[in-house]
Symmetry: C2
């Protein structure tokens, strides 16, 4: 779906670059103007695992042409930058992770490009990797670009901040002196999805979703109850607390509409409580607006201070990357 109220020929005059957020399950393309403002955008389901042609270069080329072909017809020489899983082992071109500490310059240095098949290059931002002493390594692809964008938008955060980027795999990323020094991933979103879809807990949840006022109130009560369970027993095993979702529903202490919200509150509560304990810097939420609101509500209920909530800063990050890579002719 393409959005953008501006007439294509005006877009063409103002366009400065094409920015792609290319993940596992979706491909978002943006036509950016001055200072990275969004002139037009297209969202498709052509994530790297759902290409229009499976397996290989042609699938990537076709997906790229679908989202960016018309823009390139208007302005053939636009710089093009992508971030996300498109740079992974199963992406268009593997761009190795850059080890922490990482800043924009380090990412630019390790960038790689592919030929799009349309007579222009596509540059891919590398992902980041950290190696904690006492645990497994951790990796990100795409979030490093969101972080770059957030730091561009709010330069005072360079001094020291912990970004919380909620999602399928939530990231908690520590910034100090303008560098990403380490980060942790929580599988909160994925756990929620598979528990809802495939577990015995899912069977207790309603199939349809009412959005009337009463239901909204019931959901809020459920969400808070889940957060409360996480707070009351932060050290008990999650696998035990999860069974509580089942017994509360079976004993009618939780209405069906509240069950998914309780589960969400429980999982987000565990993430926030563990993350906030580990973090010394102010917390800043960034990324998907709906998820950020949910995390903000949860933080406030749990008494965890959130310093700021930023929009999706991915396009800002891709703009900063293009600038630092000197991809603009002027």
């Amino acid at each position: 779906m393409s959005t953008g109220a501006m007439h294509p020929s005006d877009q063409g005059k103002l366009a400065q670059m094409i920015a792609l957020d290319w993940g596992t399950s979706s491909l978002r393309a943006y036509l950016l103007g001055d200072k990275g403002c969004v002139l037009a955008q297209v969202t498709t389901s052509y994530g790297i695992q759902h290409l229009p042609l499976p397996g290989g270069r042609l699938g990537f080329e076709l997906a790229f042409k679908t989202v960016a072909g018309a823009w390139l017809d208007l302005c053939p020489n636009l710089p093009i930058v992508a971030c996300g899983m498109v740079g992974s082992k199963h992406g268009w071109c593997e761009v190795p992770y850059v080890n922490c500490p990482v800043d924009l310059r380090a990412l630019v240095k390790e960038t790689r490009h592919v030929d799009t098949g349309l007579g222009c290059k596509l540059w891919i931002v590398p992902g980041a990797r950290c190696e904690p002493i006492d645990g497994p390594p951790d990796v990100m692809r795409g979030e490093e670009t969101q972080i770059i964008g957030a730091l561009l938008q709010q330069p005072q955060l360079n001094a020291g901040v912990t970004f919380v980027l909620p999602g399928t795999h939530s990231k908690w990323a520590s910034i100090r002196n303008g560098e990403l020094i380490n980060f942790q991933t929580y599988m909160t979103g994925e756990l929620y999805a598979i528990l809802r879809e495939h577990s015995t807990l899912g069977r207790l949840m309603p199939l349809s979703n009412n959005d009337d006022e009463d239901t909204a109130q019931i959901k809020l009560v459920g969400f808070r109850a889940g957060l409360n369970a996480a707070r009351t027993n932060p050290n008990s095993a999650l696998s035990q607390q999860l069974f509580g979702v089942r017994t509360l529903a079976l004993t009618d202490k939780l209405l069906p509409q509240a069950v998914p919200e309780y589960l969400s509150g429980l999982l987000i509560g565990y993430e926030l409580l563990a993350g906030a304990t580990d973090s010394e810097s102010p917390l800043v939420l960034a990324g998907d607006a709906v998820l950020c609101q949910r995390y903000s509500l949860a933080s406030s209920y749990l008494g965890i201070k959130v310093h700021a909530i930023l929009d999706n800063t991915g396009t800002k990050g891709l703009w900063a990357f293009a600038c630092a890579s000197k991809l603009f002719q002027n």
Copy 2:
């Protein structure tokens, strides 16, 4: 599949009762002789969610006839006792939970029966329920019978013990003075199954299962590494540790054959460490022999003392229940 080396007519002479362990996904039937010894057994997939005819009395009757019909032809007057989900809301007949503290006498008092359609009654053992002050209620169906059997088999455990019954929904059950005083459920087995089958972690695991010696060694190393991760960071969120499974595999620090074992070690480790912290009594493992071995290995690696490992004691429990219910004519 029916097993039992004895000739049917001999079974008929020795048979004292029919015992059923009737769960969600399987129905196990036993022909018991003197003191509850097993003369013959049949295992089918006719769990209450997989009846030969869906939804209702006829499905239960047909499943029952399939497993026990031939035995009843030989000995029409055998007492018949069942435990497990057959007594749940979606079972043959709902038998309400008995609240903790619970002992054999309390269970017998609340038993109910159904007409099998074959001219005899089937008695159903109630499940147990506890209501902790600081958390959701907890419930069991079937494990109470295993516990009764274990206490019959090892009467000295009546004084005080914590039974660990590993499974899809592992139970940690505290016994004091012959009573089940409370218990906790961990969704360890179910979490393992859905993460393996439906998550991004599952995609990193091998499809086929080699059982040669090298693979066995790789698996053991993976299992121990998972246990170690649980021990090293017992307070970090499980959803974070789970992402470590992914990064260890992606960075080749974990061989594909070791990935499922690492996940198993991580989940069992979390359960054992949380359970052992909460428990003051000696731990006794009971139930499925393969799972008990796995938990025993894990406990030993984590330095958690296990007092004893018992066989599956369910048939002993059903025997004790029949005795206490005075179902025998002699």
